[in-house]
Amino acid sequence: MSFFTSRLAAACIAVAAMVSPAVGQDLELSIIAPAGAGGGWDAAARALQDAMVKSGNARSVQVQNVPGAGGTVGLAQFAQSARGSDDQLLVGGITMVGAILTNNSPVDLSSVTPLARLTGDPLVVVVPKASPDQTLADLTAAIKGDVANTIWAGGSAGGADHILAALITQAAGADPSKVNYVAYSGGGEALAAMLGGQVTAGISGYGEWQGQIESGDLRALAISYPEPIEGIAAQPLKAQGVDVELVNWRGVFAGPDIPDETKAALSTAIANTVKSPEWQEILKARGWTDYYAPADEFATFIASENERVGATLRAIGLAK
């Protein structure tokens, strides 16, 4: 219970003293992870917490989990409680963009203040070891031949994995509304379906299936990153003639209607954290790819992602 009361206390202090701190060392922040313990956003929030405190860019940081509905429950709560606040942050990512559209969420990312894009992980397209598809070209030919019989496995419906499956189907010259995508609660459960040979192909974050790819149980055909990544043998979709790129990005947001100087202070603290060796060490340990972009660039990026994800979801028939 203690962290709820202390969060309340932190909020009271924020209301009492609306002074934006000039130096990062004074920051006492709380980060909302709009997912349960164990998820990607929870990991990102706790990693940011760790790096900000250790690199001296904040005095104390607390993480609160508000799980639900692809992050939209946490987003809705944050948009209300963090209005004008100088000490509250929210972690989010591409899945949230999709969830806002599929759930008809009343609150979207335009109502919060983007601060920085942090990480961007490649998704990987794999087939089981015994699959007849040896290359990406084999797979796209199979899709073009019989789109319904190409069964995909991946994470939640309308999430990044699903969107990539639809984009690849479209690029292969088939109807994206016919994509046969079997949604699992996460990469883990989808992995069992892949290893059991129940599906044709699978999509997940590269890190989640790295072990099976290295052991040869899964064959990686392509990654969704625009450029090749060091240490990953699979080449980008783009380099293999499928003009699709998708990055599973995560970023951090501040509340709605914050004063410019607050935004500047928070952005600086995060920019300094991202440059710190502590953060780089975490990225390496977790296998995350640095995808930092400052506030303004991040805001433009979200607008374009929103457009693209929306168009894909409409093509699949998951959003109106």
């Binding site: 313990a37 992995l191 989640e208 099976q212």
Partner: protein
């Protein structure tokens, strides 16, 4: 024999004083958070992750394992004493366990739960050590059709077992299935029956339903009947410890519970709940005292408690061999591995053999520690029951409500809890079993998703369920279990006519 030598080396590492200390801290913390509803082992491990970053990987993973096992132990205590299951896997324990506690046999109930957990965890940890690589190959072969068959068996057996008649059981189950529909559909991401309330998007929280139906419903029921009765605490009958008869009635359920719990826990989508329900059904069918079920049968505590601990060990099989977390706690433990640059998966046993075996060895040690910690506590815990009833139930109400809001701080959650409390009271008043509602809520969405996945993979052909031998056999068993009682009754009637 290779595994045995490796395990021996593992014990060598686990028995280092520092690692023993970490295991002890882990089981203490785990038991504490298991007893308190609302703060689960998953959140505890998540909070500890940054702290343990400084430690060596072995030490902190050993501590996490202690928390994991400890949480499973602790959950049964509140279920038995306060009828407040802290987690879904302890729901079944509350059924018979609380009846036993209220008839003055709380001590034996707690003891059989602790010993059963110990025995089952021991067997299942041995299973993890020696069978994991083989078991995982079988487990990934389990397709959506097979899961659907397993769910059907669970539905049929549960609705036939709980309650005074199958019809009442099925009615309760249907209510649970309906509650299970609420929320975002996993396969399409669309919301169902949420009426635009964001708090319902993720569905009804199982613990909210369980605590509402069990603890609050029970409290209301007691209040409605005891309004004018004089206050008196529950007397403790006989010994606090298990008698020879209790032992005799407990050991087989422990073994059966372990046998049911471990393999199902090892399935990538098995979970800890199905085995507890199946174990309860099995014990009720096999018991020589079936009439005691519903009034406090020790087999009904021993079996399910063994099953839930065995499944906890089972769920480490996919975590260690596939990197596939099947519970929230396992997911956080996975993050724990990753922070040391260790990726659980097919190569883990090869690349980090020493670490894995130290972890498995420390699971054995944590298990012994838990028994040593919990058995003496039994005598202390049962003192709780000496509290006069009105005080005790007032305490339960506060405890249950606080736990629910701690887990999910929202007004909607509180309203749901009260609503389920009233529902539980009404169901008790009109003699409908409450457990099938919870089974429906947990398994309904799983059965729904698995059936639709199966159909999606077969391009809409329902025969897929019969083309795979596993699912075909399970569906036939489920159909037989549903129809057999009626058939036997019909045959008996026929014979009577012939006579």
């Amino acid at each position: 024999m290779d595994a045995l030598t490796q395990l021996f080396h593992g014990f060598g590492a686990a028995i280092l004083p520092m690692n023993l200390l970490f295991a002890a801290i882990g089981v203490l913390l785990g038991t504490a958070v298991g007893v308190l509803p609302g703060i689960g082992p998953a959140l505890t491990v998540a909070l500890l992750l940054p702290v343990t970053f400084q430690l060596d990987p072995g030490g902190s993973l050993i501590m996490f394992a202690g928390i994991y096992y400890g949480g499973m132990y602790g959950g049964s205590t509140t279920a038995i004493l306060l009828n407040t299951p802290g987690e879904a896997a302890s729901v079944v324990t509350a059924l018979e366990g609380n009846r036993m506690a209220r008839s003055g046999r709380g001590g034996p109930a707690l003891a059989t739960a602790a010993l059963g957990s110990f025995v089952a965890a021991l067997i299942a940890t041995a299973g993890l050590a020696f069978l994991a690589p083989w078991l995982v190959k079988v487990a990934v072969r389990f397709g959506p059709w097979d899961y659907f068959g397993l769910m059907l068996i669970a539905f049929v057996t549960v609705s036939a077992t709980f309650g005074s008649s199958p019809l009442r059981g099925l009615t309760s189950l249907a209510l649970g299935l309906w509650l299970g529909l609420i929320g975002i559909d996993q396969l399409t991401g669309q919301t169902r029956l949420t009426f635009g309330v964001p708090n319902l998007f993720d569905g009804i929280e199982v613990t909210t339903l369980a605590v509402g139906l069990f603890a609050i419903g029970e409290a209301l029921h007691v209040v409605s009947r005891h309004a004018f009765a004089p206050e008196k605490p529950i007397p403790i009958k006989g010994s606090v410890w298990m008698t020879r008869k209790d032992w005799g009635r407990s050991w087989k359920p422990w073994l059966r519970g372990a046998a049911i719990g471990f393999p199902i826990g090892a399935l990538p989508a098995g979970g800890a709940e199905i085995p507890t329900f199946l174990s309860y059904t099995a014990e009720r069918k096999l018991s020589r005292h079936p009439e005691e079920f519903g009034t406090g049968a020790i087999e009904g505590v021993a079996g399910p408690e063994a099953a839930n601990n065995a499944s906890a060990a089972g769920s480490l099989v996919p975590l260690l061999t596939l990197g596939l977390p099947t519970s929230a706690t396992a997911a956080v433990m996975l993050a724990g591995f990753q922070q040391y640059n260790i990726q659980p998966g097919p190569l883990l046993f090869v690349q980090h053999a020493d670490l894995v075996w130290a972890l498995i060895a420390s699971l054995f040690i944590a298990n012994v520690m838990l028994l040593v910690l919990n058995l003496p506590l039994v005598g202390l815990w049962v003192q709780l029951l000496k509290i006069p009833m009105p005080w005790l139930y007032a305490g339960i109400l506060v405890f249950a409500t606080m736990g629910t809001i701690a887990a999910n701080p929202s007004v909607v959650e509180l309203l749901l809890l009260s609503g389920f409390g009233v529902l539980g009271f009404i169901m008790r008043r009109y003699d409908y079993p409450v457990a099938p509602v919870i089974v429906g809520l947990i398994l309904g969405p799983m059965a729904d998703s698995q059936l639709r996945r199966a159909l999606q993979m077969s391009l809409g052909d329902p025969m897929v369920l019969f083309r795979h031998p596993g699912s075909a056999i399970m569906i036939v068993i489920a159909a037989l279990a549903l129809l057999a009682p009626f058939l036997f009754r019909g045959l008996a009637a026929l014979r009577k006519e012939e006579d």
